[in-house]
């Protein structure tokens, strides 16, 4: 789509973006507030950040969250990629409709339902709740997001590439490993990143499935937020936003550079040829 960018278009974009970003910007700004009163500006300070690094409980929670996110994102990426392959490559197998349903349903399923149902499963089979149950729960819902991301790349993947590899002497597994995987790798990586942040962000599912000693950062933030807004929380949130934003920004800049370079290369090749 193109055409003229009207005033209406410009206004809606500015308004929409302002709406999306203003609360985040305010949150970040007030994490540097000298005063404990979050809504009154009393000068610049980084003292709340310093306080964070002396808060053992918070650091513990952050460490748990990080481990859960790394582990669950990695397993979810493998499972989600397999699920995406199954969805795009195999149009006929018994129970495909059920499978498709199970992949897409968690994308919209309310967290409370997923959280509660998994907890009840773990209780029913006598699984102690804690680090492992949170990780398993996160794998389950984030693998579906990975599946959707990878699937959207696989749909446009030229399957004759894999056939060519087999034709040149690869076994089917080797062909996948040497050709398909490198080609869809960017999608697999963004799937991993998505799974990682989903796990990092999750409060509800983790709350249902956590046990003693396994408090995640969102759970910790939540319990403090209930007591009121504090600059420490603003500081934690700012750090989290910073990490995620840096990751996403780098990924998209790298991706965009590659796209631009690719376009230039193609133009040049067409001129030479």
């Amino acid at each position: 789509m193109s055409g003229r960018w009207t005033w209406f278009n410009i206004t809606s974009v500015i308004f929409g973006m302002g709406f999306l970003y203003l609360p985040i910007v305010i949150l970040i700004v007030f994490s540097f507030n000298e005063s404990r009163l979050v809504t009154v500006w009393a000068g610049f300070s980084t003292k709340w950040y310093g306080a964070l690094f002396r808060n053992e409980a918070l650091l513990d929670a952050a460490w748990v969250t990080l481990r859960v996110a790394l582990l669950s994102a990695s397993v979810a990426t493998v499972l989600g990629t397999l699920a995406a392959l199954a969805l795009t490559r195999y149009t006929r197998f018994p129970g495909r409709t059920l499978f498709t349903g199970m992949v897409f349903a968690p994308l919209v399923m309310p967290d409370v339902i997923i959280g509660l149902s998994l907890l009840l499963l773990f209780v029913a089979i006598g699984f102690d709740r804690g680090f492992l149950t949170i990780t398993l729960a996160h794998i389950t819902f984030s693998m579906c997001f990975v599946a959707v991301v990878v699937q959207s790349r696989l749909v446009s993947f030229d399957e004759s590439l894999e056939e060519a590899a087999q034709d040149l002497g690869c076994t089917p597994f080797h062909a996948f490993y040497k050709v398909t995987l490198p080609v869809i790798l960017p999608a697999v990586i963004s799937g991993w990143m998505l799974a990682f942040t989903l796990s990092l962000d999750d409060l509800v599912i983790a709350s249902f499935n956590s046990g003693p000693g396994a408090t995640t950062l969102p759970m910790k933030i939540y319990s403090q937020v209930r007591l009121g807004v504090t600059p420490e929380i603003n500081a934690v949130c700012t750090i989290l936003i910073g990490i995620v934003a840096t990751g996403v920004l780098i990924a998209s800049i790298v991706g965009r550079r590659r796209d631009i370079q690719r376009k230039l290369d193609e133009q040049q090749a067409a001129q030479e040829g």
Binding site: L20, G101, S117, S252
Partner: protein, 298 residues
Amino acid sequence: MSNMFRRLTIFIPYIWLLVLFLLPFLIVFRISVSILEYGSPPYVPQFEFESWAGFIDKLGMLNLDNYRFLASDALYRNAYISSVIIAFFSTMFTLAIGFPLAYGMARASTSLRPILLMLVILPFWTSFLIRVYAWIGILKPEGLLNQLLLWLGVISEPLTILNTNAAVYIGIVYSYLPFMVLPIYSTLEKLDYSLIEAAQDLGCTPLGAFWKVTIRLALPGILAGCLLVFIPAVGEFVIPDLLGGSQTLMIGKVLWTEFFNNGDWTISSALAMVLLIVLVVPIVLFQNAQAKATEAGK
């Protein structure tokens, strides 16, 4: 691909989802027809599977007390109704803000578009909890919004927004906006602008062309966006809990309270089952839309 590889590709994720997604629902169902007991676990199953014959017999003797209780208590009934109403209206508000934003993005120049897209995606990656939390500081009585309005002289007394339904609406619209914008944007971006010119060439007014071509072709994206907002919003917990007040009745919050504060697993399970039933139709709609989009992409 060889059969072995193929089987594993399907088998591993399939089994995983069966055990950790489908089976839990069956257990939720079982517990929802169990009797509450104070102990660990705090329920007595009434529904053990022994044989098919026994299974059929027992179907008749299911303990539906929990569901009867849900139906008899106005609190739960109202919670479902108000969840659906809040989710529906916030979906509409999100559409009202999201569509013009997506439309504006799609009409931007090709060099600007990726940047705008990234700007919409970025909050989507940021923690939900944090984004909801950010609004507390803005909406509370001594918060920034009231400070601004007082300073402008629009109001003389601080407004009570936090801990009301209005705050819940703001929270949902804000948190789910990217889910609305992204599917609409992706349909609008693919839309061939010459279609609109053709419609105008054939006698449509610009507004007519917008309605008959742009909106019409963006419908799949609009539908996907609305479902992506509506379904999770119905079961939302964090937003009503942090931004809503005591009178804000939403089923996700009720379920959480029953489970964590009252320790009533059987009622929580029954609540989850009913919530699932409420959401079955929109979820099936969503899946059909997804399947169609996948087919179209091929």
